[in-house]
């Protein structure tokens, strides 16, 4: 009882000592810069509706900045709007527009440098070079933001959410579009990206480099230059994501380059030129994914080893698996392939003859891409049938010995 009272007393006291500063056109203080000067740690600043052109703002105190009725901070195409450095800072409900561009520095609408425990929530960012740029920061939360790029010219746009040398970040429920990369991670560890929608970006929906021990779950990557590029990382969990409409001569759902010890589970790859393109990647579990109507469902380069592909559904793909080598050191089992023509006499749901997912023609196309023109011709089908009977070109041990007879519900 006494302890309870003491705690209550402490809470009331702290509440008394933290002030709320109102900033608005009808308030005594109408500049955010002034409010930052006056504020002490743990204060709140409420920014009322209006358009504020204050150049480059710098926030280093532990305060909560709240927008009331969508106030606008305008960078006039010249300035980096808000630079945050410090700890325990929240920025919520503000519209940032027209931040500046610089060829030398990565100008951003909101930039976090050397910060910890920062929450950026419910903000709208338009017309930015980089929208949110985070470096040397831990425990940053980026949630419910809407970011729309308006590239002045294609290459003059930066990334929507950019993290560099950071850890323990949470990126969730954001909608990003029209930037270079939707979400970009370089040297970022122990972080989670979930429930985001990343679309119409010029290069990648998600770009991952040298970032270990991260998860990305339940995101939608749609209509980007390519879906996600995951490169030079290990221990990455990729789950429940949708990769859709990544279409183009060298486009793909996921590009895996030099990835090890990772997990790709229950994702949907629908209408991509290539669902997964793998290079130099080892020990990856690829299970329970849906590959539907892709050019190639999976391209496994010969540099990949010890990857397990199982319980995936392959339907309506032009090619199921493509590879550039004659030996394969990866395991395929218990997948459903709609092109499988075998039978199941003992009725255990598993086909009695093995399935070779690499068609001969996909080997030819790998060598000579222009040959794709003849894909639907009679001769090609004849060649494929002949190859199935007497394999000569296709890697003999790239085979699913236990193909499923029925597709699974995923």
């Amino acid at each position: 009882m006494r302890l309870g009272l003491t705690i209550l007393f402490v809470i009331i006291c702290t509440a008394c000592f933290s002030n709320t500063i109102l900033v608005g056109n009808n308030q005594p203080i109408h500049s955010l810069k002034k409010a930052f000067e006056l504020a002490k740690d743990k204060d709140s600043i409420i920014l009322q509706a209006g358009i504020y052109k204050e150049g480059a703002l710098i926030l280093t105190k532990s305060i909560t900045l709240l927008g009331q009725d969508n106030p606008v901070l305008d960078g006039e195409n010249k300035y980096e709007i808000l630079l945050i450095s410090g700890k325990n800072i929240t920025v919520k409900g503000i519209q940032f527009r027209n931040s500046g561009y610089s060829s030398m520095n990565d100008f951003a609408s909101i930039k976090l440098v050397d910060a910890t425990n920062v929450i950026l929530e419910n903000n709208t960012i338009t017309g930015a070079y980089f929208a949110i740029h985070i470096s040397n920061t831990t425990y940053a939360t980026v949630r419910n933001n809407s970011i729309t790029g308006s590239p002045r010219s294609e290459q003059l746009t930066g990334n929507a959410i950019h993290l560099w040398k950071s850890g323990y970040a949470l990126i969730e429920n954001n909608h990003v579009q029209g930037h270079r990369d939707g979400i970009y991670f370089e040297f970022v560890t122990f972080s989670t990206i979930r429930n985001n929608l990343s679309e119409k970006n010029i290069r990648y929906g998600l770009h991952f480099m040298f970032s270990n021990d991260d998860n990305y779950i339940n995101n939608i990557f749609r209509d980007n230059g390519a879906g996600a590029a995951v490169m030079y990382s290990h221990k990455v969990l990729m789950e429940d994501n949708h990769f859709e409409k990544n279409w183009g001569s060298s486009s793909y759902g996921i590009l895996l380059k030099d990835i090890t010890d990772s997990h790709i589970e229950h994702n949907f790859f629908i209408t991509n030129s290539v669902g997964i393109h793998m290079e130099g990647s080892n020990r990856i579990e690829i299970e329970k994914n849906t590959f539907r109507e892709n050019g190639w469902a999976i391209k496994v380069q010969a540099s990949c080893e010890d990857n397990n592909f199982h319980h995936n559904n392959f339907t309506g793909n032009s090619f199921d698996v493509g590879t550039n080598g004659s030996i394969s050191l990866n395991n395929f089992y218990n997948n459903y392939w709609d092109k499988y023509e075998g039978y199941d006499i003992n009725k255990d749901g598993i086909g009695d003859v093995p399935y070779h997912p690499v068609s001969m023609y996909s080997m030819i196309v790998e060598e000579n891409p222009n040959a794709l023109m003849l894909l639907r011709s009679f001769t090609v089908q004849l060649l494929d049938k002949a190859e199935k009977a007497i394999p000569s070109l296709t890697p003999e041990n790239l085979v699913d010995n236990k193909p499923l007879m029925k597709s699974q519900r995923l």
Partner: protein, 143 residues
């Protein structure tokens, strides 16, 4: 009557050009790391005597490609690098000056910019961190 041979000759000649090809940003991919090329400040090309152009998004990809002998030494006609200060302006690597600095952020982390001359590089560096190098020393340093 003469147009046909002339056309054939023209095609023949054009197919043998060993000039750098401007980057098509957002469309071209780096031959080595497969990433899309989007940053106009960085990148380079290796052009073979037969006229095949290999494009790279960062100097480090180009150097690693050369070290792995992605193409034989005696088949290379030109090695060019993007001028940091001018979009789609290619410099011969042996004539360029390079600035390696943590102040720069190139796509694949070589953090190296190329300049047309030593004075141009010095002007851009303007007392900031990093060092200026020529191609030979830089190439030796890259693993």
């Amino acid at each position: 009557m003469l147009t046909t041979p002339a056309l054939i000759l023209a095609m023949f000649l054009s197919s043998c050009s060993t000039k750098p090809e401007p980057f098509n940003y957002g469309k071209d991919n780096c031959y080595f790391c497969k990433m899309g090329i989007v940053d106009p400040k960085y990148g380079g090309e290796v052009i073979t005597k037969k006229g095949k152009v290999f494009k790279f998004d960062d100097l480090i990809c180009m150097a690693r490609f050369l070290k792995a002998e992605g193409v034989k030494k005696n088949e290379i006609a030109e090695k060019v690098i993007i001028n940091f200060e001018k979009q789609n302006d290619f410099l011969d690597v042996s004539k360029a000056t390079f600035w390696v600095s943590p102040e720069l952020q190139s796509p694949m982390g070589s953090n190296t910019a190329a300049f047309i001359s030593l004075p141009a590089a010095e002007k851009a560096k303007a007392g900031k961190e990093g060092q200026l190098m020529n191609w030979e020393d830089l190439y030796k340093k890259i693993k």
